[in-house]
């Protein structure tokens, strides 16, 4: 049995199990912790697939930065109240699970029909990752995909400004609909602004 086979069959069940655990946990903090486990298993798969740079980025950006942000917001909002189990749409849950299984089955069939058991070139690390994955990746990124790379920098600036504007607390002029709701419901009723 090849080593990457063993790695795959050890980490794939952990990956799927932690993904399911994200859904079934009642507590949002536990969901976040299982999501971190899932991100780490994906990082291991990137390593197996010959992408050590993305392995590092996955751990630093996802398991590090993004999950810290998630946990920070969870603690800001407070999670001690239980999620209500009232279903607004009857039968939504079974239908959702059924459709999810259908989606997975469809992709299975498509993958089976299209790529089958293809393995890709065996000399990936020597030819494609020549000089190291980070160097090879930057060669492609800064030659062929330089414009998309620059556009993402604009996107990041816009996102940072948007987050600051959205998070800012300030007195806001009441819209007409809100003023009417306030008059109908009286002070204390309606939506708090």
């Amino acid at each position: 049995m090849a080593p990457d086979h063993i790695v795959f069959w050890v980490f794939a069940p952990i990956s799927v199990g932690s993904a399911v655990a994200v859904l079934v946990q009642r507590n949002a903090v536990h969901s976040a912790l299982f999501l971190i486990v899932n991100f780490f298993t994906l990082a291991v798969f990137y390593l197996v697939l010959g992408a050590p740079f993305l392995f590092a980025v996955q751990i630093i950006v996802y398991a590090g930065a993004i999950m810290v942000l998630f946990l920070f917001v969870i603690m800001l909002l407070g999670v001690d109240r239980d999620e209500s189990l009232v279903e607004r749409l009857r039968g939504q849950r079974p239908m959702a699970i059924l459709l999810g299984l259908g989606l997975a089955a469809e992709v299975f069939v498509t993958v089976r029909a299209s790529i089958g058991l293809a393995r890709g070139p065996a000399d990936f690390d020597q030819v494609v990752n020549e000089g190291g994955n980070a160097e090879a990746l930057s060669r492609v990124l800064f030659r062929d995909y330089f414009l998309p790379f620059e556009v993402t920098s604009i996107l990041l600036i816009v996102a940072a400004v948007a987050a600051m504007v959205l998070a800012q607390e300030r007195e806001r002029a009441r819209t007409r609909a809100e003023a009417e709701a306030f008059q109908v419901a009286g002070p204390g009723g309606g939506v708090r602004t």
Binding site: A2, H5, V22, L23, A51, V73, G100, V140, L155
Partner: protein
């Protein structure tokens, strides 16, 4: 590497389906958001796997760019969730129904 690429793509499909079910089933906005992250990561895994199969690095560049976009998306999305929570005092998506007919 002896593992067929389709194993990784199939795993990515399973993770994507789990993320989809999470978005449809859960009511907590934060958990829904985490499920979206799960879906994004599943797609990234498929991209890296296809990069391996075709023997070039375009898929890895795409996965890298999608990670950047996901980071920006998380920042804005969490800010929106915090804002909604301030208004409604609830992170339950059923409570944010002002635009419902």
């Amino acid at each position: 590497m002896r593992t067929p690429i389709s194993y990784f793509v199939a795993l990515s499909a399973i993770l994507f389906a789990i993320g989809t079910v999470g978005v449809l089933v859960r009511k907590n906005a934060l958990v829904i958001f985490m499920s979206v992250e799960l879906q994004l990561n599943a797609v990234n895994l498929a991209l890296v796997a296809f990069s391996r199969m075709h023997g070039n690095l375009t898929g890895q560049v795409l996965a890298f760019l999608s990670m950047v976009v996901a980071a920006a998306e998380v920042v804005v999305g969490l800010a929106i969730i915090v804002n909604v929570y301030r208004r409604l005092h609830s992170a339950n998506v059923d409570d944010a129904s002002l635009l419902r007919w």
